[in-house]
């Protein structure tokens, strides 16, 4: 049996956290019992591709789940897949593709944004960060596809929640709570997700030369039409020119994605062009492969890859407030931006790093974005992330409730302490 002592062997000098590598759920539970007994904190990590997200960690140990890997159940006909959390997302995606299925929530890969080589990381990491891609308005985020979980809480206790069927309301929906919790509540040891048939083909309608307000209005109209638009993004000229898929077209570009059977796409395109004709301007159609490439670039925010010293913000807001929000921020700060989710997601890359932009961006959210607008600092120096709150802060009863929930999962703050918020 591997006991706590075995894990201790890996411990280096006091400054370097000991790495606890676990290969199955019972080892994970054992390792956590050890942490609990010693009062040691741990970073929960697998491929570490999402480390730049949230606040940097200083922990006593590293709980490495990379070897907790492998698809345990895949039943295409039931639309479910179970896997250990360290399973590479690329393996999951290629396995699904063989059955013409996919992850409808289109998980983004910010590696390039963070100056690293593309790496989709692991399924556990993807669920823990919980961000959805361009299909968010129509297909949801990881939370909407996260059906079941097995894990170990900060009491050292193994638990399961949810199930392995696509429709289930038995007990509290703990998978939703764990999605996006950045590993601060429990260590997941197996997860079950809903998988969907992949659309057989994709096409993208580009509309040229619209200003932000026109574009957001147009995207709103497109999303309000029965054409089942599954992606709606707008790139002002400064961003459009840098995207490989759009390079041939100078000026601002608005992109609408349609997916499904080719004949259906054709009919919907016709409907859309008719309905949107009153916006005027040129439109072009991207073919299948360029179209697919474009939406990967949108999901992965490739437009802002490269200049890794520049801060990048991700703002989630109601679409109707997006243009005002962008304008308000751009009045005070220099940078580039584009809209996804029909305007409800605003990506901003600022020209230079400083601490002042935090206040300006957050203040703009309050003044121009409405009560539900919030901003996440996705790219910033480690020292900036350590000294500030990259994730949107919570206030009042919500902050108190959040702390009470943390205490019911991980009262000793063993898991990723401070990763989400300094005090959590």
């Amino acid at each position: 049996m591997r006991g706590r002592c075995a894990f201790r062997i890996c411990r280096g000098s006091e400054a370097v956290p000991a790495t606890l590598r676990v290969t199955d759920a019972s080892e994970a539970q054992h390792a956590i019992a050890g942490l609990l007994a010693d009062g040691r904190t741990a970073e929960i990590v697998a491929r570490a591709t999402r480390r730049p997200y949230g606040r940097p960690l200083q922990t006593d140990a590293i709980l490495d789940l990379r070897a907790l890997s492998g698809i345990t159940v895949y039943e295409p006909g039931e639309l479910v897949l179970s896997a250990q959390p360290g399973t590479p997302l690329s393996l999951i995606q290629s396995t699904l593709a063989e059955q013409r299925q996919h992850l409808a929530f289109e998980p983004p890969d910010f590696s390039r944004l963070w100056g690293a080589a593309p790496d989709r990381g692991t399924l556990g990491g993807c669920l823990s960060v919980g961000l959805g891609g361009p299909r968010r308005p129509s297909a949801g985020a990881p939370r909407d596809h996260f059906l079941g979980v097995k894990g170990v809480n900060g009491f050292g206790q193994a638990f399961a929640a949810g199930g392995r069927v696509v429709k289930n309301v038995t007990g509290f929906d703990l998978p939703k709570l764990l999605a996006g919790s950045l590993g601060t509540l429990a260590v997941m040891t197996e997860v079950t997700i809903k998988v969907m048939p992949a659309p057989p083909s994709t096409s993208t309608l580009l509309l040229h030369g619209l200003d932000d307000a026109q574009a957001v209005a147009l995207m709103g109209e497109a999303l309000s039409s029965p054409a089942a638009v599954s992606g709606a993004a707008h790139f002002p000229a400064a961003v459009a020119n840098t995207l490989p898929a759009l390079r041939s077209a100078p000026g601002a570009v608005t992109a609408l994605r349609l997916e499904g059977l080719p004949r259906s796409i054709g009919a919907r395109l016709e409907h859309l062009t008719r309905r949107l004709a009153h916006y005027g301007g040129d439109c072009t159609l991207l073919d299948e492969s360029v179209s697919r490439g474009l939406w990967v670039e949108v999901a992965d925010v490739v437009a802002f890859a490269g200049a890794s010293e520049r801060p990048v913000w991700r703002l989630s807001t109601r679409a109707s407030a997006a243009v005002g929000l962008a304008r308000t921020i751009m009045q005070s700060l220099e940078g580039r931006y584009f809209f996804d989710w029909g305007g409800a997601l605003l990506w901003i890359e600022l020209a230079a790093d400083s601490l002042a932009h935090q206040g300006i961006v957050r203040e703009a959210c309050i003044r121009a974005g409405g009560p539900d607008a919030h901003a996440t600092l996705i790219r910033a120096d480690e020292h900036v992330r350590a000294r500030t709150a990259p994730l949107p802060p919570l206030a009042g009863s919500l902050a108190a409730l959040t702390e009470r929930i943390k205490a019911q999962f991980d009262p000793q703050r063993l898991f990723n302490p401070g990763r989400m918020y300094a005090e959590l």
Binding site: A33, P76, G77, E78, G130, L131, G132, P137, G140, R143, F155, G156, Q157, A158, F159, A160, A161, G163, V165, K167, V169, T170, G171, F172, D173, L174, K176, L177, A179, G180, L185, P197, S224, P226, A228, G260, L261, R263, S264, A267, S316, R318, A319, S320, A344, L345, P371, D372, H374, T376, L391, P392, S397, L398, T402, R404, I405, F409, P411, M420
Partner: protein
């Protein structure tokens, strides 16, 4: 069904509580006479009845907050209630509890077409949301069969589904935000009109929390543009197996129909006799498959299914050629519950979910159990997502039939779990499946859920006796240090 014992001390202070509650909710908003309380003694699970201490019908969020803060201070239990259509006894009162009814909070507050959502008070009915946006060609997707009556607040509490949730998701996938009053009277907003919210996904756990975490006082629901066209296929099969294999073939082909419903022979016969939907009577299973979208897409999908159907051995196929015909196909399915209700004085509706491939095996076992218990059963099935609704026919006036029906039901749900499914797909646990929770979950699983409850409601005042087979003991859970999943309190008393 045992419920937590009433506290005689609280019951004896009724007059005092009524007086105090009237200070927060004036006039007719506080109900205390036995005649009036009788209207609240049960929900859609009518086998269990219990008048509450009092019913309060607040008219706004501030009143809800004042009532909850008062109940919290007095240690009074609270049972939230929407329209009372729950089929799992979620809104069943307790003798020493206050029912907080949300029926007066029944206004649509805002229709926001720019962000494609509706902000509604919790007492607005599910259908009223769709009606409010129909003129502009929108609708609210989750469509429980009870949609003319059930409230959007109740839908959130139960995470309700409908025949179209295979393609469009359950309530939780269609709600962007809620305002909720916690038991101490504080008001929180979870989510809003943006697609995601900071911090933990509390909205995700409030959906389906069955009134145990707080009282929902406002819901922001997403609305979708109506599809251009809808078309349905009515397909009859000589065996349930053939119908099951056809469902599998459709999904395997990569199609996600807007709805895919199955009925067995008894359900078909009952529905046909009731509404004359034109169903064939010489089949063992009937499938309704509906597609929506642009004409070209529907045509292509329908022709794919036509080809698959022939290969699955279907003996009957009709494709709706008009909107009238499509609605007629649905008329029988939508009336299936009342139709079955005509066959017998009482029926008991079950709600387990199974992996679809287990359907033939599960239906075979259900029919064996039906023999054993001597009670007939009709099966209605959300075939696309594996959600079964066996309807057990019984007569409560005959000796032990209710008891038998309940045991039969418990056997069916246990079977669902055994084949890899779950106790409830959309109706919730409530009191009905409470004592079966240990069939699906280990003690440590339930403990983690109860810990979450403790973060919201440490005194266990919100809807006690529901969902969990043991009352939460937050103080003990907080202190408890468990190793390797072993429980320190294996003998916690049941109700």
């Amino acid at each position: 069904m045992r419920m937590p014992a009433a506290d005689p001390g609280l019951v004896s202070r009724r007059a005092e509580f009524l007086g105090a509650l009237r200070r927060f909710v004036p006039g007719e908003g506080v109900i205390g006479t036995p005649e009036e309380l009788a209207a609240y003694e049960c929900d859609g699970l009518t086998a269990y009845r219990q008048p509450p201490l009092a019913v309060v019908l607040p008219a706004d969020t501030a009143q809800v907050a004042a009532v909850l803060a008062y109940c919290h201070a007095q240690g009074l239990k609270v049972v939230p209630r929407g329209s009372g259509t729950s089929l799992s006894g979620g809104a069943l009162p307790l003798a020493d509890a206050i029912v907080v009814g949300l029926g007066k909070l029944n206004r649509v507050l805002e229709i926001d077409y720019a962000n494609r959502c509706v902000v509604a008070q919790p007492g607005v009915t599910n259908l009223a949301i769709t009606q409010a946006v129909a003129e502009r060609g929108f609708y609210y997707a989750p469509d429980p069969s009870s949609q003319i009556a059930c409230s959007i607040g109740g839908n959130v509490a139960e995470n309700s589904g409908g025949v179209h949730c295979l393609k469009y998701g359950m309530t939780t996938n269609n709600v962007l935000g809620v305002e909720m009053v916690l038991i101490d009277g504080s008001i929180v907003r979870l989510g809003g009109r943006a697609y995601d919210a900071p911090g933990y996904d509390l909205l995700g756990i409030v959906n389906g929390s069955e009134g145990l975490l707080g009282v929902v006082t406002e819901v922001t629901a997403r609305i979708l543009p109506r599809p251009e066209h809808q078309q349905a296929l009515l397909i009859g099969f000589p065996t349930v197996e053939a119908a099951g294999s056809c469902v599998a073939a459709i999904i395997d082909h990569g199609l996600i129909p807007a709805g895919m419903e199955m009925m067995d022979r008894l359900a078909i016969q009952a529905a046909e006799a009731f509404v004359h939907a034109g169903y064939p009577l010489d089949v063992e299973a009937l499938l309704i498959v509906e597609f929506d979208g642009p004409r070209a897409e529907i045509d292509e999908h329908v022709s794919i299914v036509e080809a698959l159907v022939a290969r699955c051995g279907a003996g009957y196929l009709r494709i709706s050629s008009s909107e009238r015909e499509r609605l007629q196909f649905w008329a029988g399915r939508k009336a299936a519950f009342p139709a079955v209700g005509r066959l017998s004085p009482d029926y008991y509706c079950m709600d387990g979910t199974i992996p679809r491939r287990c359907l033939p095996q599960v239906l075979r076992r259900i029919s064996e159990l039906s023999q054993t218990y001597g009670l007939a059963v009709a099966n209605v099935f959300h075939a696309g997502d594996g959600n079964l609704h066996p309807l057990i026919l019984y007569d409560a006036s005959l000796g032990d039939q209710l008891d038998k029906a309940e045991r039969f039901g418990a056997d069916i749900l246990t079977l669902c779990v055994e084949v890899g499914g779950v106790l409830t797909g959309e109706h919730g646990v409530g009191v009905e499946k409470r004592d079966l929770m240990e069939v699906q979950f280990q003690p440590s699983d339930l403990q983690q859920q109860q810990r979450l409850k403790c973060a919201f409601d440490p005194d266990g005042l919100l809807n006690p006796g529901k969902v969990f087979p043991h009352l939460c003991r937050c103080a003990e859970l907080g202190r408890m240090h468990v190793h390797a999943g072993a429980l320190r309190f294996p003998d916690l008393p049941r109700f």
